[in-house]
């Protein structure tokens, strides 16, 4: 066998904020022309390992060898220059710049002095080579999530790295975009790049990788070729054989709690993102609003929740017209929402875990804050929802993506609203958390009405009572969930508005 491109030897890393061991003696080899998949639950150390490779985090001990030379990255810049690139989990692009300007930002700094005109040609060639088509002169703000991810990939590829890491790339994008992404990854392999693909979705891992590595609590517990293992074995390894299926169906009552009537919502730069959408939801019911991300779902949630201007139409809550009311008024009435943007809007990065979790009970509690009572209830909530954390006073930014998600769900459900809007409730959750969240939601719907916005139809089908599909700002499909309704059937409607499948 040939020599590995990157050898990782006995890496250890402990975070001083939480004291948790994120990496515990990880040893791993990456080979050219091979796709290695890293599997693991939330907070298993997948992201930390990649951060160490990219020099974002420093390991406590251990070493790395890249192309036969000792490799000690001082930061992502250094890694880029050596020939390692990463497409991060949360997309980091500059909204106000154009696509090409964003690409220039990611250009390797030791590159030759090139003219813009020439550079444009290079980028065009690159796009052709990988079938990545992007409008170069459009502002990034106008791109969909999938396109932004392509931009990130292009930004990494232009430096022609030898090792490319994709950190949970499939959580944000639609199925069609996923197919395209997999094609790109296969193409990269055929060109002899070493690709690392991080995910917690078993099926994906199985479909594209050559080698599968399973991390648990910072340790490599499994590492083998895909052909020498099976989905069953991996499932066993990851989740200890636990698997529960849900079949809790409640009779829905007739009380209509939220009615959205012919609502149009303003999008970015004077466009109409949502065009006359109507929906209705009753207590004891979960309504899923699905469709390819970026077709107006986010804007619809924002519009209902008073964070975006409604151009026309009405929102009726318990028989009262609440169109255009602001979040603090809506929350008082009993409407809560989990916003799509976890990092900037749904949580406050500079605040502690406790403050983020208890922001309602603190801001609606007694005039003098009752510290002890709040610390107790925070601990209980975090425990109930299975959030792994260090100290309750740590900044919320110390939590991993999946744990933050659980914390936010805990917050929104625990304030017992009458109607709960959820933006991508399943994003970033591993199978175990996913099951527990689904259980929580089916439990919660006895007391409230839930409208979930999610591009993930497969998961939606498991707990939804009704499904609504939005394409290009319009409802193209609406139906009760009944046996026999399958995800592929529904996906046909995803591009309904453009392909005339109505």
């Amino acid at each position: 066998m040939s020599k590995p491109v990157l050898e990782i030897n006995d890496l250890n890393k402990t975070y001083d904020t939480s004291g948790a061991k994120a990496l515990d003696g990880v040893t791993l080899d990456l080979f050219s022309g091979e796709i290695t998949t890293l599997l693991g639950e939330n907070a298993a150390g997948k992201t930390t390992l990649m951060k160490v490779i990219m020099g974002i985090e420093k390991p406590d001990s251990g070493s790395m060898v890249f192309k036969g030379k000792k490799y000690l990255p001082s930061g992502p810049h250094f890694a880029n220059e050596k020939g390692l690139g990463m497409v991060p989990q949360s997309i980091k692009v500059v909204d106000r710049l154009t696509v090409i300007e964003n690409l220039v930002l990611g250009l390797r700094s030791n590159g030759k002095n090139i003219r813009m005109k020439h550079y444009r040609e290079c980028v065009r060639e690159l796009m052709k080579k990988y079938f990545l088509q992007l409008p170069l002169d459009n502002e990034v703000a106008s791109l969909s999530t999938g396109q932004r991810q392509k931009l990130e990939i292009l930004r990494v590829l232009q430096n022609s790295p030898d090792v490319i890491i994709f950190d949970e790339p499939t959580t944000l994008i639609s199925d069609r975009e996923k197919e395209e992404l997999f094609e790109i990854i296969a193409k990269l392999r055929s060109q002899g790049k070493a690709v690392v693909f991080i995910t917690h979705k078993l099926r994906e891992a199985f479909s594209i990788s050559d080698k599968i590595v399973v991390l648990r609590l910072g340790k490599v517990v499994f590492s083998n070729s895909r052909y020498k293992t099976s989905i069953e074995e991996l499932h066993e390894l990851l989740y200890g054989g636990e698997s529960c299926t849900l079949s809790v169906q409640l009779p829905t009552s007739d009380e209509s709690l939220l009615r959205v009537h012919e609502v149009s919502v303003e999008g970015s730069s004077n466009t109409e993102a949502v065009k006359g959408v109507s929906l209705e939801v009753r207590r004891g019911e979960i309504l899923f609003v699905s469709g390819v991300a970026g077709n107006g779902q986010e804007e619809l949630l924002d519009g209902i929740f008073g964070m975006r201007r409604i151009l026309s139409g009405r929102v009726i809550f318990e028989g009262k017209d609440v169109t255009g009311l602001r979040p603090f008024e809506l929350r008082k009435l009993g409407l809560a929402a989990l916003h799509y943007d976890r990092d900037n809007i749904a949580s406050c990065r500079d605040s502690s875990i406790r403050d983020n979790l208890l922001v309602y009970s603190l801001s609606n509690g007694k005039w003098v804050i009752e510290e002890k009572k709040h610390v107790l209830s925070a601990r209980r909530l975090l425990c109930d929802y299975g959030v792994t954390f260090g100290e309750i006073e740590d900044p919320v930014s110390s939590l991993s993506g999946g744990n933050l998600q659980k914390l936010l769900l805990a917050r929104e459900i625990s304030c017992e609203p009458k109607v709960l809007l959820l933006g991508e409730p399943f994003r970033g959750l591993d199978v175990k958390s996913l099951e527990s969240v689904k259980l929580l939601l089916t439990e919660a719907k006895k007391r409230m009405a839930i409208v979930a916005f999610s591009a993930d139809v497969d998961e939606a089908l498991t707990i939804a009572d009704r499904i609504l599909i939005i394409s290009e700002g319009r409802v193209v499909y609406s139906s009760d969930v009944r046996p026999g309704l399958s995800a592929p059937d529904l996906r046909k409607y995803f591009f309904g508005a453009t392909e005339g499948l109505e």
């Binding site: 406050c348 403050d355 309602y360 801001s363």
Partner: protein, 344 residues
């Protein structure tokens, strides 16, 4: 906990560096560096007169520092504190003159402070309302309003309220029972210092232990998060500015009641501006405002004493203060977590 200690360390470092720069400047600018340095840095502690004056000078600075920190806590910028100091002093003093012989001393003082608080608070509220209703930056509106108000106060001090008999650019004096009693005679230290200390404690309690203070801090940390999470951000911004303006004007009132007994033209010598620097050094923590204000007063007193005892001009203190201001604002140059590598 680590980060708290860390912040404190960083504040101390800023203070330390600025003292060293000050010392270097003294050595460069004086013919007799040894003497001048001693006069500048040590003479303050040599007798009760100097030391009392130092503390007296810190009294209004604490209040403007607190005023700035409330606004900063909500991510608002109240640049109009200088005007609020003057307006507060004038309004409170006018009330005092009007009330003389009508009410006993303690009640008179309390009423004067209340009047002064509401005048300053209303002035700051104008900026807050402009921001909420029309989106005008409070930075600009408060600064412009303040500059105008200072001139208007000058007019009252030189015109309708002028103490003609004295021939000074000052208002009529307050009656003796409407004054704080002195401490550490013959320095100008007065019992108003307890008011400042108590206010610092009160503000700390408000910001960190009460519901409304919590809301203000959340708004300051992330306005979109606060809005989404169901806080009335407009209302909170208004109250933060209101409180800030009120506190700033009590700084003017306390100097009148404690030291001068009347409003004098230009008495503030930049309390409003220094309050901003103090809040920055103290990182908006109300209790840390106390040492920060004393440190600022120490520099100013040191410069004054040095100009008396050694051949250094009082302007010199301004240079050292400017250096501190500069170092504090250049805080970005110091890595956020010194000695502990942390990446986003």
């Amino acid at each position: 906990m680590i980060s708290k200690l860390h912040n404190l360390g960083r504040s101390l470092m800023v203070v330390g560096i600025s003292l060293i720069v000050g010392l270097l400047l003294v050595i460069l600018m004086s013919d007799d560096p040894g003497d001048a340095a001693k006069a500048f840095f040590l003479s303050v502690f040599s007798n009760r007169f100097y030391f009392g004056n130092l503390l007296a000078h810190s009294i209004p600075l604490m209040l403007t520092g607190l005023a700035a920190s409330v606004a900063f806590a909500a991510s608002c910028f109240n640049l109009g504190m200088e005007g609020q100091v003057y307006l507060g002093a004038l309004a409170g003093t006018s009330a005092g003159i009007f009330l003389s012989d009508l009410v006993p001393g303690a009640i008179g003082i309390a009423l004067m402070f209340t009047v002064s608080f509401f005048f300053g608070a209303s002035l700051a509220s104008i900026s807050a309302i402009l921001k909420i209703r029309t989106g005008v930056s409070e930075l600009i509106s408060s600064l412009l309003l303040s500059n105008g108000i200072v001139l208007a106060v000058d007019y009252f001090v030189e015109g309708p309220l002028n103490d003609k008999a004295s021939g000074l650019a000052a208002s009529i004096s307050l009656p003796a029972e409407f004054r704080f009693s002195g401490l550490m005679m013959p320095s100008s230290l007065h019992t108003g210092i307890f008011f400042s200390l108590f206010t610092a404690f009160l503000l700390w309690f408000f910001l960190f232990k009460t519901r409304e203070g919590f809301k203000i801090r959340i708004v300051g940390k992330s306005r979109t998060f606060a809005f989404y999470t169901g806080l009335n951000t407009d209302k909170l911004l208004f109250w933060a500015m209101f409180l800030s303006g009120g506190l700033a004007s009590t700084a003017g009132m306390i100097d009148v009641v404690g030291i001068h007994g009347r409003v004098m033209r230009g008495f503030s010598s930049g309390y409003g501006w220094n309050g901003i620097a103090i809040a920055l050094i103290a990182r908006n923590h109300p209790l840390l405002i106390i040492p920060a204000a004393i440190f600022f007063a120490y520099l100013e007193s040191g410069a004054q004493i040095a100009s008396l005892e050694a051949n250094i001009t009082p302007e010199f203190a301004r240079i050292v203060q400017a250096v501190i201001f500069f170092l504090v604002t250049a805080e970005a140059l110091v890595p956020k977590h010194l000695g502990r590598k942390r990446y986003a």
